[in-house]
Amino acid sequence: MPSYDPAKVYYITSATVDKILYETPEDQPFTYTAPAGTPVTPTFSTQSTPHNLGVSVWPEAQYSIDGDNYYPVGARIEGAYDAGTMSRQYVECYVYADMSNVYFYVENGNTADTTFSVRYALESLS
């Protein structure tokens, strides 16, 4: 329990706020290495991890392929140009959840195996 600091300004809110039921620790993202594909024949993978909350939850997530720069799910990360397909390599990552698990849909249009790191939060629906 943080202590009261008279040097700080505190406020009282009577509004509703988001209720986070679970959040991955900053240094413990969900990780998965997707097999290589190409920009025109990407690999598709669905991975999951249990949350054991027993209720439907609203997942929000950010993902990284270098462990440093994180992007929101739904954003496509584009990479180097692939001369073989005359297209840019890319990755996409999405997340969804049911009453038991969090699912990660990964699309790898890179020509090398790619490790995805996903930091996610599970929010109450009500």
């Binding site: 809110t13 509703t16 439907s56 609203w58 799910v73």
Partner: protein, 121 residues
């Protein structure tokens, strides 16, 4: 969602408007895709931060509203999202949610949304 009354040194994002509504699945042909929309009137006088999620199959599987959808066929089966849904337009008075799919779908589904109070005001 319970009212929060607290002292805090952190600036929590607060809801101006939030709720769960029943939205129609995409079934109206608009161009090449079938679509449906839902409009929430907020009248905040500014364009707020908005987040949304939905349960497209009414089976307890929740998808964030980031228009995630695969192509038809094998990818869609792997993908899992029953259709695409996204925040289509945010104005100073309304928020429009839009669902799209390649074939007409019937029925309704729950849409969860959060419209936030501007923390700079």
């Amino acid at each position: 969602m319970s009212i929060v009354g607290l002292w805090s040194g952190k600036n929590y994002l607060k809801h101006a408007n939030m709720g769960t509504v029943s939205m129609s699945k995409p079934g109206i042909l608009a161009g090449a895709l079938y679509t449906s929309t839902y409009v929430v009137v907020h009248n905040l006088g500014y364009e707020p931060l908005v987040r949304a999620a939905f349960d497209g199959d009414n089976d307890g599987t929740i998808y964030p509203a980031v228009d995630q959808r695969g192509n038809a066929g094998a990818q869609a089966a792997i993908f899992g999202a029953p259709f695409g849904l996204f925040i289509d337009d945010i104005t100073t008075t309304t928020v429009t949610f839009r669902a799209e799919w390649g074939t007409a779908l019937a029925g309704t589904f729950p849409l969860y949304y959060r419209i936030y109070i501007d923390p700079t005001l």
